[in-house]
Amino acid sequence: MTSAAVAEPQRYLETQIRWRPVEIAFWLATLLPFVLTPNYLVLASQIAITALFALSLDLILGYAGIVSLGHAAYFGFGSYTAGLIAKWGWGEPLTGLVIAAAAAGVLGYLTSFIIARFRHLALIMITLGLGLLLAEAANSASWLTGGADGLQGVRMWKLFGVFQFDLYGTTAYTYALAVLFVCFLVARRLINSPFGLALRGIRENAIRMPAIGAPTRAHIRKVYTIAAVMAGVAGALLAQTTETVSLETLSFARSADVLVILILGGAGRLYGGLVGAIIYMVARDQFSGINPQYWYFWIGTLLVAVVIFLPNGVLGGAARLVRLGRSRA
């Protein structure tokens, strides 16, 4: 009987982890830009990087309920780490990526001790404060970061010693997409584990989770560190594919953007950040083409419309449509 009891929850989670056809279709569709819009591969790589950043926010916001207005801290930290390594003469992309990920993870782990103590409004203020702190530190340490001019002189070597980072973004998009996919697999595995389920319990009732045996703070520290690593990887990808790092990577605007993207797509759905990033980045590209000065006006309109009509984001709305369709049929 004991062995059956151990197996049962795992069996339940295993049924959740099977790939649905719509997921396979989504990932196949990410290859379409190579064929359909080869002139937009630079934008596509930016979307993939932003999607990874949003995915990392989804882990803490969508699953563990940690609202952050300073998530760019880890993005920017990863970005500067990767940029500096390349600038100091080690331009190999993959090792740079790993080192940047580790650096962002260490920063995430250290700050997670503060994060795990707070909830709600206090948490928003603290993450905002931490983000601003780091951005200002980077600004004043211009000897290291280049300050407002950005980090110059980042030169990347060929990926695997073969693929040059080209102007068309072919290598950049391939690289960013592959890294995004690997990180997505990790996130998906994590969410469909007992740990992932416990995180959702913490989101719903952090104070009482310990009553069923889950160490709330330890779980929060763990997921926050993992999310920081992923944000750092996203930042490193940006530094490596653009061969420059600016203060913008640490800015409040970037933290706010990624929050908007996640809410737009639908938090707590794993694909929300990905879909949100596609919609947001394409919309920004189009709107700024139409009206370069006022594109935030349209982004604002889009956001208000989504929150009013699709309170659970685009994916939440899509899921509701599917349910309605099924109940009619």
Partner: protein, 255 residues
């Protein structure tokens, strides 16, 4: 239930009781809610906690789970002093708790609610669905789509999935239709008879509570004012009337 001399208390508690509280003073921040609580529960035993509203019944359970500030005394669990031990460790070593507010996870499905805290033992999905067939029917429903009675069943079932040695039940029958009260009372009876799970039951339904338990205590302003065998107390209408201020006959939903 024994009132022991303090000098021998800890030794005896460690030797005999599953859970023992010794002269516990507890509360929230600076506010003291419980003062001088001493009690113990044997393995497989059961205890009813009675009293008027606001006398500290829920706080007693919260203190056992580790959610209050204990400023004096000791909580001994399976022979170990756990007064300063974190709640999640208490849960992992066999303390289960069903909160008064039920506190199920609203956006998780019934099955997810059950799986989230599950630990190996005799209570698995099959066993709790056997105890509450209604939950099996609604296994895919979200927590917040359940009726009050179903939510209460889910809260108890979720606590059972952690395979507790001692289950703390905070007014599990409150606000439920009489037929559901009977159903839940039967489930609690079966749970203890078949599985030997010890429990502490805080309940306003005095008669049901006394019929389910071995021993009973009555709380008054944060202290224990009466101890008795449950079946004896059930016959002492005058004592109950005096202590709890409610005649059994006048109780709503009393079967």
């Amino acid at each position: 239930m024994r009132a022991c001399a303090r000098s021998t208390w800890v030794a005896r508690a460690m030797a005999e009781a599953l859970l023992a509280l010794n002269d516990v003073r507890a509360g929230y921040g600076d506010a003291i809610v419980l003062d001088g609580i001493t009690l113990d529960v044997a393995a497989g035993g059961s205890l009813a906690v009675l009293g008027r509203n606001g006398v500290g019944k829920s706080t007693l359970l919260l203190t056992i789970m580790g959610f209050t500030r204990v400023s004096r005394g000791a909580v001994v669990w399976r022979g170990r002093d756990i007064t300063r031990v974190a709640p999640h460790w208490r849960a992992r070593t066999g303390l289960g708790w069903v909160a008064q507010e039920r506190e199920i996870f609203p956006s998780l499905s019934v099955e997810e609610n059950l799986v989230v805290g599950s630990r190996p033992g005799r209570w698995d999905l099959e066993a709790v669905y056997g105890l509450f067939p209604r939950l099996n029917e609604r296994r895919a429903s979200r927590g917040n789509h359940l009726s009050g009675g179903e939510q209460q069943m889910l809260a108890i079932a979720r606590a059972l999935m952690t395979n507790p040695t001692l289950l703390l039940l905070d007014e599990p029958l409150e606000g439920l239709a009489p037929i559901i009260v009977d159903e839940l009372a039967a489930a609690i009876r079966r749970m203890t008879a078949d599985e030997g799970t010890a429990f502490i039951l805080v309940e306003q339904h005095t008669e049901v509570a006394l019929s389910l338990t071995d021993d009973a205590i009555v709380l008054e302003r944060g202290n224990i004012v009466h101890r008795a065998r449950s079946r004896d107390l059930l016959k002492e209408q005058a004592t109950l009337d005096h202590l709890i201020g409610l005649r059994l006959a006048e109780q709503p939903n009393a079967p």
